[in-house]
Each structure stands twice: as structure tokens, then as C-alpha cells.
Amino acid sequence: MDKEEIYRKLVEICGENDVSIDDADLIATGDWIAKGLEALYKNISFKATALVTPKNKDEIVQIVKFANANKIPLIPRAANTSYAGQVLPVKDNTVLMDFGKHMNKILEMNIKEEYAVVEPGVEFWYLQEQLAKEGYFFPAEPGSAFSCMIGGMVANNASGATSFRFGTTHDYVNGLEIIMADGSIIHTGHKENVKSVAGYDLTSLFVGSEGTLGIYTEIYLKIKKMPQNEVSLILAFKDLDSAFQAIEMIRNLEITESLALLEYVDEMTIEGINANLKFREKKGLLQKKMKVPKRAGTLLIKLIGPRYKEDLQKLQENLQQFQDAKIEVMEEPIDQKFLWDARHYAGPGIARTMPPPEGPRMFIPAILDIAVPPRKIIDFIKSSKEISQKYGYIPIGMGHIFDGNIHLISAQNITEENLKKVKAFQEEILEVVYSLGGSVTAEHGVGFWKQQFLEKEYGKETMDVMKKIKYALDPNNIFNPDKMGLGVISSIVHFEGLGEKR
């Protein structure tokens, strides 16, 4: 089917104002690797054919039926903040379906029964703001809390630094309304909080499916009462081993009810945090000067809830054994907010300490979001440092220790030579991850850039089952095709000689 025809049909369904074939709407916005590969190779382009912004589920049903009948790839897109190329158009004639413009409403907020119904384009921060007015919150909070949308969170089963305490998005999805490939509408789970083991847990299947199985039109969420009180601590130990001894100590302290955050930050991350704090100080946003001491074994901690004071005391008493540790306790909510904001954006914050890059670059995808069994994380950190050194890469490391999840951020120039090096580096790192029983992605998802690793993680037979599910539900492969290791091609990062060089 030619592009003109696709455009005409979409306009017929949604009207001219909600269909665009303008390049500004079709480009691979902001995806570093896509930008880099486009710059490197003449014949690689990640551009959609059309963007459609449906107003309601009726329009979506019509679009899906049309796409299914004509085998047109359809990518449901929320905030486009994923880091693994989840919403990257990789096939010809791709139609992007964006929910931000119209399908961005909180349809119901029932505080008494502790649930909410939202459309996929609701921004997470906005939902939190509305819930906070009632003393409630949505507990699964990803690092992209200021920019992501609920639809994307559900599609990626998003989570973040607090997930060891509160769980992931999956734990707060009661059910979903989904438009399937044939245009039928199904409802999984229940709108309200209902204990149920009736049948297959389809909600769990669809949460984290990265847009490959169907399109959410309504999302039924659990909400929780917001814990009161909070205190944050910076614990700076002289070395990594001391920090991990402290982690073991904390693990045995029985303060889990209060412990909401426990983050390991390496020295580069601290530079990024401090760069962000300094910038905010310059803008006049900070109440006072703030700086995290730059030491090899630094932990950031937050305690919350009714027992936080006694647990703080317990923690402080037990920290006395670490005589050379520098400990700072922060009680002012605004100071804590800026500390944690700076931690969230420590990776990009490093950029503030150096001139802007002159050419395309990317974060190395396979190390961005690794997880190993929690007690093995120190082994992984040590091995990864050795491997990184061998390759001359110096990643920034930060991790959600109790989840065994570490983010290693290494911004690399995208050149043909470096791509080969990245490939070898990724493979070596993943050897360690898999030998420790870990995963290539703890929370960011697989998308386009990590799909080549899945077979190694699960084995061919398991991947075959995933593919069977995909093709049973989406026989024409219209929903976000060639992602998550379910398609026929794997990530371009690992293709050699694929593109014609510029």
C-alpha cells in the first residue's frame, strides 16, 4: 500500500488535524543511536510514514482494523522516553500512534477504593500531582518520572530506585482495556482492587509487552496512601568494600519498613550529581549549598513512614562502626528533593562538566540497565570495572543495590570502529551478567537495541514460546514489529557492513 493511501485512510478516520506526514513529526526524535547510525550510513533511516493522534478508542479500532487488513506496522507511543529504541520506526510504512495529544485524561480517581482509571497519555508527574492533593500516590516510580506517561510505564513495566520497596508498575495494574490486532476490545483483570485467580493472568502478559501485543486504551491502577515523613542520608565510605559491608549491615537491621531508597553512586555519578546541584544553585533554586562528598563507596538513603525516626536512630548507631564514614542527614524536604532529582539526572549531568560532543554518540545499550541477584552485585561491579578498563571505557555507575540493578552509563562516539568495539565489550560484560544469573534489563526494557541478547538470556525454546504468543495474538505482526527479539531482524548495532557508509 502506498504512503498516500495510508495517509488518506488515516485522515478519513481521524481528520486532517490528527494525521501528519510532516517530517518534523516522523523523525526519530532524540534517539541517540538512531541519530548516530543515520549520520554514519546513507541507507539507514528511522522515519515513520505517518503520525496519528487518535481522539478515542473508536478511532483506534478503525486504525487497527485498517492496519491489520493491510499489514501496516503500528507503533503505540506515549512519552517516547525509553532508552532502548522501543518506539523507533524500523519498518517501511510505519504509523506512529501518539496518545499525548488527546488520550491524556484521568478518567476516574477513587480514593476511597484506592484505584484510578487513566488513558495511556497521562503524564506520570501529573497523575502524582493529582493524587498528592488527596494524600495518595502511585508507588512505582521510574527515573523518568518527570517525563514519562502511564501508557509507556505499563508497556515497559517501568520501575526505578524505589522498586525494592514498592515494586514495579506491574504490581499496581489491576487490569487493562486493550484493542487487539483484529480490532476487538478486551478487558483484562478488574477495574477495582479485586482478589482474583480467574483464568490466565492476561494483565501480566500485556504489562511489559512493549506495544507488541495490543494497544491499551484504559489502564486500571492501584493507588496507595502516601507515606508521611522522610529523611535522607548521604553515607560516604572510603572504599567500595566498606560501602558493601554497610549494605550487609543495613540488610540485617530490620528497617525495611522505613527504607525507601538505597542507592550506590560511584565517583563519576557524584560528579554528575554535584554538577546538577551546582547548576541549580546558580539558578537560585537551592535553599542552601549542597554537595555530595566524592568518595569511592557512597550510598544515598531515604527513610520514610511512621517508624522513620527510630529506624534512623538504629541506623546511625550501627554506622558508628564505620569510623571514617562521612555521614550527612538531610531533613528539609526541599533539600532532599534536590538531592534525589540530581541523582536521577546524574548521568546526563556529567555532560555539564565537559564541552558538548561534536559528533553522534550513544549510551552503550547492554550495560545501561543490568541486574544480577542482589548479593552478587559487588562481584559484578568489580568485574565490570576490570572489563571497562580493558576497553578504555569508563562508565558512570549507579545502582539500586537491593534489587541488584546497576546502571552503567558510558557515552560513546558512534563510529564504525567503535561500534565493533562496543559489540565485543557488550558481549564480554553480558558473559559476566549471565554467569551470575542476571538479566540484560532490569527496568528499561528490550526495545530495538537489546533484542539480540534475549536468546542468550532465555534460550531459543523460550524465545519460540514468546514468538508463538506474539503471532497468535498479532498474526500479521502489525504491533511494534521487530522489537523485543520477536521479529526477523536483530539490532542494527550488531550488524556489520549493513549500511552504505556516508
Binding site: A24, D25, N104, F146, S147, L285, A351, R352
Partner: protein, 380 residues
């Protein structure tokens, strides 16, 4: 084509935090209108990956240059520099939005943004001719630079008129250039367009001010204020004038006891921090000193205040090029203010006043007033 267009292209890592802050994106949540995509579009133009499309133009010219994204970008992307460089490129290609060339030509040919006869510059003073005409081009340490908007737009005449009445009450002497006041040139600066004739305009305004012994220049328009404070200083680093916004002078007069407020104003009020005055120039307290001096007035400060304050959507030439977009922002902001209990939005900028006045249409129980007009009626 300027390298500024691509300077941050490879720096932005797509985190999207800018979207939460972006004045335009929050009113019209389209990816192409987000700061991060504007950066990508600018870079793509530079790299010749895409042409100047309708949506690219819209993305680049609707940016209100509020710099709210600059408050939060963790990587240090300077959106404003990129936008201005890209605007310049688009205009140079003859692809600027409708009306832009006319606006720029008006400034050069007519010395004002409306291409009206510059002799009409004093029309705003029709109700107070006796107080204003004798002041024109007289020796004085203080000069009032009225600006094009307030000089020519009838709905804004009351702003300079009120300031003159306030000056009269406080016994402040001043002069003004009358038809010898030329546009400050701000639209050129907002569009990043360089033109030798703009230098002539700047030179003219500076020379005229010097001719009448001026030491301080006061504006009620934050756009003119920023132009004098930044662009004129770039032109002449030895610029011999102190540049003040009217609220700074008035706040001083109140603190010195030269202005007495005798009447009560029992309303819940939100002050609209103008971007050029607040975020870009750091003047936050002066208007608040004025408002807090008014008996009965309850000033509401939102969680997003001062440097983080909402932009009205009327700046950066967005209203001139995409008025519907500016209106969408004004409606959203006015609704936020109303939901937070405001009965009155007080402005200290003609563009904010103008835009928010349209933004409140259809909203019950909320109005907009200019700070000078509000104050003048309450003085002893």
C-alpha cells in the same frame, strides 16, 4: 547557517524532562513542540536531513523563549541559542512565518513594529497630554522608554498613563523621546536576525538619551527592558545608563514613603512574573514589594514561583506568528491560576496582559489587571 543550530544536537539524550516544563508542550502536548524535538529539528536542518517543513517552522517559531526548559535540562542544553540560530536560518531562506518579514521591515522603515507613523507614538497620552507633552525631550536624569506596544495599542495606553500618574504623585521628574523614540529592536533579537540598520536604531536611541542628560532609563515593557539591559550593553559595553523596570522604581518610592496607598484591595491575586523581567533578569521582588504594600490584597504564591513561574505564552514572538498557540497557553495558565484561588492576575508586562486577557475569556470570577493601573487607583 550557524553552528549554533547543531551545538546541542548530540548532547540532548532524550530524557524528556524539558517536556514537563515547556510552556508550549504542556498546552499542546505534541512531540514536535517539545524542546528536545526542537533541538533535533534544528540539527536535522543543519545536517540537511530534512527541509523547512510547515511543522518544523511551527516548532521553531512557537518557542516562547521562556527558558523554563533551561531550568531543568540536566545536560545543559541551551535551547534559546539554538532556536534563535534556527529562526535566523529559516528567515534567511525566505521561509519565515507569515508576517515576520513585514514586522522586521516595519522596524527598519517605520521605526516601530506596526509600520505606523512614528509621530503617533504619543497617542497613548491622549488623556494626560498636559502632563506628558511638556516632558518630551527635556533634560532629565530619568527617561521613560514607552515601547511600541504601549505607544500604539489602545488597549495598553493605560499602562504608561498610569505610570505617569504615579510619577506625578511621587514628584518624579522624567523625560521621554516622543516621536524620536524608535523601536528597541527586540523582535530582531528574538529572531536572532542581524541587520546593520538595527545597529543604527540602537545608536539613535542611545544618542538621543545622552542628548537629554539621561542617567536612568525606565520601561514598563520587560521586552524593551531586556533589550536595553542586554543587547544595548552588547552594542555599547560602556552604556552610561542604569536600566530599570518601572516596578523597581515604584517599589523604591513605596519604601521611601513617597507613595502612600490609602485604599484597600480585597482580592486574591497571582502575580504573573514576566519571563524577560523575572527568569531572564532576576527581578522578582520589586513587583512583590508593591503588591504586599496594598492593604487587603492577598498574594498567592504557587509552588512554581519566580524563576519557575509559568510563562503566559505571549512572548518570543509566538503570539505574533502563531496566535492560536499563544492563546492555548494563556487559557491553560489562566485556568491553573483560577484553580489555585486567584481572583485577579496582576501583570507587569504588556504582552502578558494582552495574552492573559484573552486567556481568561470564558472563565468566571477571574480578571487581569496591569500593576500600574491597579496601583494608581489605590494611591492617596
Amino acid at each position: 547557517m550557524s553552528e549554533e543550530m547543531i551545538k546541542y544536537y548530540y548532547l540532548c539524550n532524550n530524557c524528556g524532562i524539558c517536556r514537563q516544563q515547556c510552556t508550549i508542550f504542556q498546552a499542546i502536548p505534541l512531540e514536535s513542540l517539545s524542546p528536545r524535538t526542537r533541538m533535533t529539528l534544528a540539527g536535522n536542518l543543519y545536517l540537511n536531513k530534512t527541509g523547512i517543513t510547515k511543522k518544523t517552522k511551527e516548532a521553531i517559531f512557537t518557542c516562547v523563549l521562556c527558558d523554563l526548559c533551561g531550568n531543568t535540562c540536566p545536560s545543559g542544553v541551551d535551547v534559546l541559542d539554538t532556536i534563535k540560530a534556527t529562526r535566523r536560518y529559516i528567515i534567511e531562506q525566505g521561509e519565515g512565518p507569515e508576517g515576520i518579514s513585514k514586522l522586521l521591515d516595519s522596524i527598519i522603515q517605520g521605526r516601530n513594529i506596526f509600520l505606523l507613523d512614528n509621530e503617533e507614538r504619543i497617542n497613548w497620552a491622549e488623556n494626560i497630554e498636559d502632563k506628558v507633552k511638556p516632558k518630551i525631550r527635556q533634560q532629565s536624569e530619568l527617561a521613560l522608554f514607552v515601547g511600541c506596544q504601549e505607544s500604539f495599542k489602545g488597549s495598553l495606553y493605560n499602562i504608561p498613563e498610569s505610570l505617569v500618574r504615579i510619577f506625578e504623585k511621587a514628584g518624579v521628574d522624567f523625560t521621554l523621546l516622543g516621536d524620536q523614540e524608535w523601536c528597541c529592536g527586540a523582535p530582531y533579537f528574538l529572531l536572532g536576525v542581524k541587520n546593520e540598520k538595527v545597529d543604527e536604531i540602537i545608536k539613535h536611541n542611545i544618542e538621543k538619551m545622552k542628548e537629554f542628560g539621561v542617567k536612568k532609563i525606565v520601561t514598563t515593557c520587560p521586552g524593551c527592558y531586556l533589550a536595553w539591559k542586554e543587547e544595548y550593553k552588547k552594542f555599547d559595553p560602556e552604556l552610561p545608563f542604569e536600566i530599570l523596570h518601572s516596578t523597581e522604581i515604584i517599589a523604591n518610592l513605596i519604601q521611601e514613603g513617597k507613595l502612600k496607598i490609602s485604599k484597600e484591595y480585597k482580592k486574591k491575586v497571582i502575580f504573573q512574573d514576566p519571563c524577560d523581567l523575572g527568569r531572564h533578569s532576576g527581578v522578582f521582588e520589586a513587583p512583590r514589594i508593591i503588591l504586599k504594600s496594598i492593604p487587603g490584597l492577598e498574594l498567592i504564591e504557587l509552588p512554581r514561583e519566580k524563576i519557575e513561574a509559568y510563562c503566559c505564552g505571549g512572548g518570543g514572538l509566538c503570539k505574533a506568528t502563531y496566535p492560536e498557540t499563544a492563546l492555548a497557553v494563556a487559557k491553560k495558565v489562566a485556568k491553573i491560576y483560577k484553580d489555585n484561588g486567584a481572583e485577579m492576575i496582576v501583570t507587569a508586562c504588556p504582552a502578558c496582559f494582552d495574552n492573559l486577557l484573552t486567556g481568561i475569556e470564558g472563565l468566571e470570577g477571574i480578571d487581569v489587571v496591569d500593576i500600574h493601573s491597579l496601583l494608581v487607583d489605590l494611591l492617596e
